[in-house]
Symmetry: C2
Subunit: 256 residues, 2 copies
């Protein structure tokens, strides 16, 4: 098992691979990088929508480091990035050194990988992990609370949970508000405007077992959906599943 | 007992009185109002220092309303305000209608009144309430994490707690992270650079009973201390003890 620093060193050296299961026990984070001109809107969007956008750290403009992993370089230490211009995905490079600018602010956002581990620890099966798939994610018909120029739909992830363990899953994740917290909905996809659980907007379809109930959590893809809708001139994000591995133990974000 | 709306209507009509004990059971908030040009620094300061600066709401520039109390007017509905120019206190008016500008952003910040009620509910005596005094507050030698132009010391409030109930006080307040959460320190004023508990920097000296231990919580006066240190050209705050009474029940900020 790699330490977070060793995992980041591999990505920095060129390894491109999903981070799930790498450096287990340490918090992984979504990355959104925006010009300073857009940073206030993003910061306010996170403040107003803490369930989908739990901000774990926000850097100074131009800085390439974060308190979540002293010594890490945000330009090189993720396995894969996405580059957005005017809301269009234009590249998926392994580093963004050549794209870095003095006015870029980095937002590190909590990720559900942390609570999936907590679910497993509590005896709750996580079907997407069992099936070796990415989690299913959906745009909902609920709008986030807008912030300046930023607006967009709430995006949720769905996990099929055995009915007898739904209450446990709620309790376990409720204790982790910095990584999306308690579910936003249990049971009815229609209530969120989701037409078909088998056709997610992001990620993979995940098979439910007999007796499973669909449980929906606010998802860190929400800010990416807002960026796609609002189309700022320039943005960098992590590539899906290719997260920033921090030095922060998952337990730090579990409340007593 | 007044409803929050009835309490605000009295202040709007001209009543000047501390809000402690008014509309009991509803969250009261600290107010900081800054020009848009300073709002990013304040928002980042809150994001980086969530224990002293738990942001409950941040308004759109120019707006006089907040989601915490639909129908309230932030310019009139607090009993007393403070007006700051270049870091100097220049006035303490009963409303700020004539001072309002389209570029002003309001920050509503969690207040320890909420957790004092939770302490009482758990059987923990609150000496400042028993003695009819304001809580004792101190500048510490710990610096907040700076944000842009904003920096300053952590300010703490101190409550003498019977030794046998310190663990209870920690547990009760730990469940309320949006209103300062668990104590930052128990026992030694020296560890925070506090010379004498009997000489607070803000508020009143509060007498300890035999067997009490001093317990220190992060305090919502912290952003005011930063403003006094950094001296932005213009700011409005609530006057100490004269808070914004919201429509949000205290229970909303108590975690399970």
């Amino acid at each position: 098992m790699l330490t977070p620093a060793a995992a980041r060193a591999q990505y920095r050296a060129g390894l491109i691979a999903p981070t799930s299961g790498h450096a287990p026990g340490f918090t992984q984070a979504n990355l959104v990088v925006l010009p300073r001109d857009w940073a206030y809107d993003m910061l306010l969007f996170g403040q107003r929508n803490p369930k989908p956008v739990p901000l774990l750290d926000v850097t100074d403009a131009g800085s390439t480091s974060t308190v979540l992993a002293p010594g890490a370089d945000l330009r090189t230490d993720l396995p894969k990035y996405r580059v957005w211009r005017d809301g269009e995905l234009v590249d998926e490079p392994a580093d963004v050194v050549d794209l870095w600018r003095d006015d870029l602010v980095s937002f590190l956002i909590g990720c559900s990988f942390s609570f999936e581990r907590a679910l497993l620890d509590a005896g709750v099966p996580v079907r997407n992990l069992e099936q070796g798939k990415n989690v299913s994610m959906y745009r909902t018909d609920r709008e986030c609370r807008p912030a300046g120029r930023l607006s967009g739909p709430l995006v949720v992830s769905m996990r099929p949970i055995p009915a007898a363990l739904v209450a446990t899953a709620v309790q376990v994740t409720a204790r982790m508000p910095r990584v999306h917290g308690a579910p936003v909905h249990v049971g009815s996809p229609e209530a969120l405007g989701i037409v078909d659980n088998a056709r997610p907007d992001f990620g993979d379809p995940v098979d439910a077992e007999p007796g499973d109930v669909p449980v929906y959590w606010a998802c860190g893809v929400t800010p990416q959906a807002a960026l796609m809708e609002v189309r700022p001139p320039f943005a960098i994000t992590h590539a899906p599943g290719h997260m920033f591995v921090t030095d922060v133990p998952d337990a730090v974000y579990r409340e007593p």
